[in-house]
């Protein structure tokens, strides 16, 4: 038993030493509760892009995400005793992420509709262009033939 406790004490001491020896690691990582929200926000923006949203439409959302990133960094850099302020900042980050997700979802809906409409318009334009092309082709040949006949009939024989 004493062996086990000695082993545990040694392990704990090594762990504490390792933690203390570790270099200052300044990464403004999102805390574990925010990580799924970050992924949801990115996935929503990516869905909007896949649905046909332009860079101009997604740029404001990405700017908001960068704002959330700055707030997260600010919260991470606060001294450990400022828990209230940190929680308030994390709450703001979460709120921004939720807003971005909602706006991106709305953008996905409008982009999908717009892309669908554009596709229909393009394909219908193709059919119209085919009809117009056919008529131009047929009438063009007919008019040319009539012109040639007319010219032939208008010919006069002149004595040399």
């Amino acid at each position: 038993m004493s062996r086990i406790s000695a082993w545990l004490m040694f392990t704990s001491a090594v762990l504490i030493l390792a933690i203390m020896m570790a270099p200052q690691y300044s990464q403004a990582q999102f805390n574990s509760t925010l990580q799924p929200s970050v992924s949801r926000a990115i996935a929503a923006v990516n869905n909007a892009e896949a649905a046909g949203a332009t860079t101009n439409e997604t740029a404001p959302l990405v700017a908001m995400l960068n704002e959330a990133l700055a707030l997260n960094s600010e919260a991470s850099n606060l001294p450990p005793n400022q828990t209230t302020q940190r929680n308030a900042l994390f709450s703001s980050v979460n709120q921004i992420l939720t807003t971005v997700t909602n706006q991106a979802n709305n953008l996905t809906t409008t982009s999908t509709q717009r892309t669908y409409t554009n596709k229909i318009i393009t394909y219908v334009t193709g059919v119209v262009a085919a009809i117009v092309g056919t008529f131009v082709c047929v009438f063009g040949v007919e008019f040319y033939q009539r012109y040639r006949i007319k010219r032939t009939l208008q010919m006069r024989i002149k004595r040399k």
Partner: protein, 213 residues
């Protein structure tokens, strides 16, 4: 227009079909997004935004408080928005570099990380000004104790080199993965995993401090 014969009708239908095939093919090509290569560009340049003069007076043998100014840049060509992170690591001659075959990062600990959400085709470039602010020389080893990066001081440990030769700064590109909710080294695109990292070597053979007896 009167269709004079069955032959004429057939000709017109054939022309229409030919036109519709051409027009609808054009419509399909116009509305279908082309597959594009997905990648990031990652670079570090010197103070003049050139791949030269990375160190003051172009001398990679640094002293205490020698200010090194670089610009680090990333271009997102993934075709969609991405959250990227650049991790700055400090190493020496024996530090393992990132492995491009197994796609594993360097084993050196990260000192600082820079994060940013990027839209497609965006280039994010930021200044990286750093200096060594404290170092000791003991037993033929130069130990770097503190470094200042973009006006923030960071304590470092286990960063030493024999006679101050072959220190290095390693920069790695990490990308947020939505399926794991975490940053991962490299990125997946076009069915393969790719990584990007940079390293720049320097020496500190004469830090400008008096070595202890």
């Amino acid at each position: 227009m009167k269709f004079k014969s069955k032959q004429n009708k057939r000709t017109i239908i054939a022309i229409f079909i030919a036109f519709i095939v051409i027009a609808e093919t054009a419509a399909y090509l116009a509305t279908t997004p082309r597959p594009q290569e997905q990648f990031f560009q990652f670079y570090v340049v010197g103070a003049n935004r050139l791949a030269a003069n990375y160190y003051p007076q172009n001398n990679p043998n640094l002293r205490i408080s020698s200010l090194v100014s670089w610009y680090v840049g990333v271009t997102n060509s993934m075709g969609n928005a991405q959250l990227v992170e650049i991790r700055l690591k400090l190493g020496n001659e024996t530090t393992t570099t990132p492995n491009d075959t197994s796609d594993t990062p360097s084993s050196a600990p990260a000192i600082v990380a820079f994060d940013r959400f990027m839209i497609d085709n965006e280039t994010w470039e930021f200044p990286l000004a750093w200096s060594i602010t404290n170092a000791t020389v003991t037993g033929g080893f130069t130990h770097i104790l503190t470094t200042r990066i973009n006006n923030e001081t960071y304590e470092v440990s286990n960063w030493s080199a024999i006679n101050g030769y072959d220190f290095r700064v390693i920069l790695e590109l990490w990308v947020w993965q939505t399926n794991t909710n975490a940053f991962e080294y490299g990125w997946s695109g076009n069915g393969e995993t790719r990584t990007a990292w940079l390293e720049i070597w320097f020496n500190m053979t004469n830090p400008g401090i008096i070595s202890p007896p």
